[in-house]
């Protein structure tokens, strides 16, 4: 059974009376145990919102509207209160972008660990100071930090170290799924590399399922096995990372890849995508990317494409879907 099965997930954001913004629209997502998935897209595409929705972290004025999220067979989309809280132990966890700001500045790191471990303790667990310290120390070691960090305070640590602490705190609950929401965006560019590497190693060692949310396609393709691209609240492409590298299928993904380049190359051409994403408070007709797409046809402006299988993955594009059918048709 898949670890996570989400069907028809919608998230609506209502900042003022009468304004409804569909941040996530009709998303189906299946994750198997041990997968490392990257969720990529630009500002406003809904990737962070989806990550929050999947871990039930949405706060008003955003809320889930319709859809089912099954975590290991349990429908968590309707859980509240204590049953939901219990799901966080050995269930799902989230590491935030501002993980650094998520630490209480007046408490030591050790206190943070003790707090979490005690809050989610199970029957018969040893909660003595020594045992907690030992467990916390082990967690810190797993994120490449020394156990003496337990006695320090957040402001005494560098940005990268604080983010590692956040990761260790997420690991403390032995989760089966961890969502990393832009974990390195706010970090220095050199530290980013190191932290992503740590996340990669951890995922390989501990085989938890992970979702890495990032706007940086390069980071995601490097670290993950499978990439999901979002645009205007929808999933528009879902491929293994290698497949995406060798030839993306959705015009948006292609255009996005064209915005990256190797500074060492002899010739560097940096692409851009003209136009802007659509206003999500208005009903969308047809493919959301059509206004900016060089391949757009009439059908694209009328009918919203659905995710159809293409190669080892899926793509939501009329043009590509038709091309693949044509290809299959030719001998």
């Amino acid at each position: 059974m898949a670890l996570l099965e989400a069907k028809g997930v919608n998230v609506v954001y209502e900042p003022n009376r009468g304004q409804r913004i569909w941040s996530v629209r009709d998303v189906d997502l299946t994750l198997e145990q041990g997968e490392f998935v990257g969720l990529v897209g630009e500002s406003g595409c809904g990737k962070s919102t989806l990550g929050f929705a999947l871990t039930r972290m949405l706060r008003p004025p955003a809320h889930l509207e319709g859809g089912v999220i099954q975590f290991d067979g349990v429908d968590i989309s309707t859980l509240e209160g204590e049953p939901l809280r219990r799901q966080r132990r050995n269930g799902f966890a989230i590491v935030l972008q501002s993980g650094m700001n998520a630490l209480n500045p007046v408490r030591s790191i050790g206190h943070h660990f003790a707090d979490i471990l005690r809050a989610h303790a199970r029957e018969g667990e040893d909660l003595s100071a020594g045992a907690l310290r030992a467990r916390s120390g082990a967690l810190l070691l797993s994120v490449r930090l020394e156990p003496d960090v337990l006695d320090r305070f957040p402001h005494e640590l560098s940005g990268g170290m604080r983010q590692r602490v956040s990761i260790a705190l997420a690991l403390a609950l032995d989760p089966r799924l961890i969502v990393f929401d832009e974990p390195t965006t706010a970090l220095d560019v050199i530290v980013q590399r190191a932290v992503i590497q740590t996340i990669k190693d951890l995922q390989r060692e501990q085989t938890f399922t992970a979702i890495l949310i990032s706007h940086d396609l390069g980071v995601v393709l490097d670290a993950t096995d499978r990439v999901i691209v979002m645009y205007a609240g929808r999933i528009i492409e879902d491929q293994p990372s290698q497949e995406l590298l060798s030839g993306p299928h959705h015009p948006y993904t292609e255009a996005l890849l064209g915005c990256y380049g190797d500074p060492r190359a002899d010739e560097v051409h940096l692409g851009g995508i003209a136009g802007s994403p659509p206003d999500l408070s208005l009903p969308q007709k047809g493919c959301s990317f059509a206004p900016r797409c060089t391949l757009a046809e009439d059908v694209c402006r009328e009918v919203d494409p659905v995710l159809t299988p293409l190669g080892p993955g899926k793509v939501a594009c009329h043009v590509r879907a038709r091309e693949s059918i044509d290809k299959m048709g030719t001998p």
């Binding site: 406003g44 962070s48 929050f52 706010a186």
Partner: protein
């Protein structure tokens, strides 16, 4: 749309709400500004209630001569009357009609509240801006003075000042109240001005060749509008209460008719013993209502500085 945003809503580009902006600096713009401010306040439910209450009190104050059945000071009536058909609120120990007094009394309370509030806010804004925008010796000196003023308890200081000042007029009260309530506002303004000073759009304004005066009054101050308004309404609330307290303690001019003096005489003449509870409740309630109206309006003030909230 910044990449570093986590969590919901996309900014919607090309949002075409119509905003009419006039930026020629002359009278029409100030009226435009006031008009827009009122409309913004009106859109908040709590503020709306506050505005209505305030409007009613202002109207009462303005039209007191027309609304009051009798002169507030004439001692024609039988004293110590409970409410009856001639004197709706009864009469004082001197035979004055309380209802008329209540209507005319609105004038003094409003006057002191608004004027003292404005004065205190003006001082607070000036000191706040000066100290917040230019660190240095002036900042150090003025901050010290502000802290000093904050530490001294307000009401006792007011009582002492009022008791020692020889003239006993409404203006004395106004000045005393303003003098003792500017400090909190100044501290808040300073902190806000200080934060704004390091914002990049202020640096850009300086790079655009703007002079100090314009940077402070056209760039920083407009971004502090809601703070200034909030500060004003708080100061006005405090002023209304302070004025009533001073009058009640007999430190005002006993010849003025205000809600506070009604309470003073009520106390002097043992209104509760003579069963004239209206003499205590009416002014008390009125003072509370005025103060509450300012507080309610304050709820809507936040939207003034946030253009995003204005449009809805």
């Amino acid at each position: 749309m910044t990449i570093v945003t986590a969590g919901p809503p996309p900014q919607t580009p090309g949002d075409l709400a119509e905003i009419k902006i006039g930026h020629a600096s002359s009278l029409p713009v100030s009226l435009l500004f006031v008009g827009r401010a009122l409309r913004t306040l009106w859109s908040n439910r709590k503020a709306r209630i506050g505005l209505v209450i305030l409007a009613v009190i202002i109207l009462i104050a303005l039209f007191a001569p027309l609304l009051a059945p009798y002169s507030p000071t004439s001692t024609d009536f039988k004293p110590y009357q409970t409410p009856n058909s001639t004197n709706w609120f009864g009469t004082t120990g001197n035979g004055q009609d309380v209802f008329s007094q209540m209507l005319y009394g609105a004038r003094v309370s409003l006057f002191v509240g608004l004027v003292a509030g404005i004065l205190a806010t003006l001082v607070a804004v000036t000191i706040g801006l000066v100290t917040g925008y230019r660190p240095g010796i002036i900042d150090e000196v003025l901050s010290f003075v502000t802290n000093l003023a904050l530490v001294i308890p307000g009401l006792p200081l007011m009582i002492i000042l009022a008791a020692y000042l020889s003239s006993r007029s409404v203006w004395t009260i106004v000045l005393v109240v303003a003098f003792t309530s500017w400090a909190t506002g100044a501290r808040v303004m300073r902190s806000q001005a200080s934060t704004l000073r390091s914002r990049e759009f202020i640096t850009s304004a300086v790079f655009s060749g703007e002079r100090l005066f314009r940077v402070v009054f056209r760039e920083i101050l407009p971004n502090m509008t809601s703070l200034v308004a909030a500060s004003f309404f708080s100061a006005a609330t405090a002023a209304v209460m302070a004025e009533a307290s001073l009058e009640f303690l007999g430190l005002g001019n006993p010849n003025t008719v205000s809600w506070g003096t009604i309470l003073y005489f009520a106390q002097q003449q043992n209104a509760l013993l003579t069963g004239q509870w209206v003499l205590v409740f009416a002014p008390g309630l009125a003072i509370a209502l005025l103060a509450v109206s300012f507080t309610l309006i304050n709820f809507g003030v936040d939207a003034l500085s946030n253009p995003r909230l204005r449009e809805k």
